[in-house]
Amino acid sequence: MLKIKHSKFSISLYFTFILLNLFIVNLFTPPVFASTQGVFTQYKNRLTQIRIVDKTTNSKTTIGSGFFVNNKGLIATNYHVISKHVFEPNQYRIEFVLHDRKKTKKVYPAKLINFDVIHDLALLETNLKNTPFLKLNKKSLKKGEKIFSIGNPHDLGMAIITGTYNGLTNDSMNKRIHLSSAINSGMSGGPSITSTGEIIGVNVASAGNQIGFLVPVNYLRNLLKKHAIPKSKITAKQFIPEISLQLLANQTLYISKILSSPFKTKKLGKYEVPDKLANYLTCWGDSETKELPYKASQNSCATKNDIYLAQGFTTGDIHYSHTHISSKDMNVFRFSHVLQNYFKRPDVLLTGKKKYFTNYECKTDFIENDSMKFKLSFCLRGYKHLKNVYDMILTAASLNENHTGIQTNLILAGISYENANLFSKKYLEAFSWTP
């Protein structure tokens, strides 16, 4: 065995180093005026637990967090916390829990009066008056700023966690704040605040590993502005139609933005195909590596976040992909069969339940643009609850060459029929072939 002998000198040097270190740290760390504990005790009375209760069994089915945004008892939370009530207002009621000074729990009813399904926000009306509330942040934040997220993780009681602000995400259609923090389920709907108690966002999601997301406070501000307009309250009867309206307004916005400029294209062999059409799309490429008598390479682009409507019911996806297939060894008959296998089934499908969607209806035909000929299949399905909202799947295979072809898919979820057509037309026009 090896024994290390420390000289008295080295030990004393070591301690001196540690002491010096402590001193330096203390010297250069700015004084923390608001401790985590302080923030928590100061603001916890502005928070509440939101519960969705099944009226038949009288037991809670969903829990989340919420917070007061004015002194008239108005509560803000996530849409996804109260989505069950939106779809079945007579089956599920909304309650919120407050603790009084003696720390006894008190349960009160709350009423949904407005929501923003796109940004996952909801406003609840209560009978309470003179409620302490959180103010909305107006200052701009810097990366690395300390943020406090408050909520009720896993129904364990109100908790606070600290995180750091990491700016806005640019990979999703609707901007979110990226927070390095351990936000988790149950904290949804709770606020993330600065040390001075101003809301910078609403806790919404976690990607695990200290990656959390917030709905930026601006969207909450917009919803509150909408709420301030007289007669803007919506009733149970209007919940589902309101979702349609918001989805349609949202897709009109982003589709018209994409359609306003010419489609960027990319070269795939002798073909030009639509490239990244918006900066919130994530694109990647891949090639078939198996030993096959043909070569296939794929490029695809998709949105990262979809819009949550209810459990197992999401929408808002954009996805498109192109597969370039070529073969030197195969005869025309075999090659057309390979192309058929790609054309037969889109590489990505939207999920959905019978409860929410109809089956797809399709139209298939040969089409041509200036330089290309395709077999095209255009399919739509309807949303059983939502009027004028559709899912679209477009699949096309090029028929210009005998041994080379392009197969493409375009998937748009939660779109109007008109926009599905406009987008598809422009998408197909963007393809070209140079012999």
């Binding site: 779809f87 079945e88 207002p89 007579n90 089956q91 009867k237 589902i240 139609p241 030993e291 096959l292 008598p293 025309v332 008959f333 075999r334 090659f335 057309s336 069969h337 390979v338 192309l339 058929q340 296998n341 054309f343 037969k344 499908l349 959905g352 969607f357 109809t358 089956n359 797809y360 209806e361 399709c362 139209k363 298939t364 035909d365 040969f366 089409i367 041509e368 643009n369 000929k373 077999k375 299949s377 255009f378 399919c379 739509l380 399905r381 309807g382 059983k384 609850h385 009027k387 559709y390 799947i393 699949t395 028929l399 210009n400 005998n402 029929y417 057509n421 598809s424 037309k425 197909l428």
Partner: protein, 332 residues
Amino acid sequence: MDALIIEVLDRFGKVKTRHRVESFPCKIGRDFSNNIILDDTYISPNHITIEQSENSFLLQDNESMNGVYNVHPFKKLDSLAIENNSRIRIGHTDIRFNFTDHNVKETLKDRDVPSQLAMLVSNVFVLPIVWFIFCAAFMIDSFIEETGLITFQKLLSETLPLLIFIIIWALIWATISKVVTHRFYFIFHAIWVSCLTIASTILDNFSKYFEFSFSISGSAYIISLISSIVITSLLFYGHLHYSTTLTAIKSKYISITTSIVIIGMIEIFSLLNATEFSNTPRYSSVIKPPMFILAPASTIDDFFAGTTNIKDNIDEELQNTTSSLINKAINN
């Protein structure tokens, strides 16, 4: 009344032999001296005698070992004044008496053997040639549809099970032929099923090319539905005709009904499956080489102008659903 018809019945009560007796007394027994000899070891050598009196026939037991019994009602007899349809049992044999003559049915015509087809079939080279064509057709088919790497063994391993199935199928029908018509006819059954399977593959491919070339969605389905009914009918007709004694018209009716029932059932199941909810769209996905395109391609604008139907179809389907779903949620 000058003649008596004596019917010897089998154990199912069906007539085995009929004897017309005109001279009496008539002796029945196992001995060769009898007028009607019955080979039943429970019957005495001289079991019964039938005598004719003026207007009747009288049956007499000749003191046989096991006696004579009336069948309905069952009782022992010493003698019996025979009536029309009297039925007696001696030993293990039932005998029925008939006074009247009956018209017999028309004689069935046996098949013309050897026919031209039979001549063809009897040629030893025909079956190997048909099977060679069969294997070639199926190997070409799986060669075109195989998108991965191909070896001869792989193709053969896909074709051989089919050939084995066809041999078993032909053997089953040949056995039926043997049992019913006493002729084996294996070669005919084998050629028949092989040729029709080849025909069905050709028609199946034709329907796909038709659908692709003319861009008519669902045409492949209709063509293959009709052709499969025709081919299955032909298949059954051929097999039935050569393995049973049914008349041509009966065989036709049976084979057409059977094939419609079988294919109808398959179609009903697949139709039920097709109306099930699915996240996968169903569309005409046939793609053949570009040179087979015969239908004109439409412009992108024209194509999308025509998509309003599918929107209308969906809207029509949902016309009542949406509002009722919302109302249901609220007035639950």
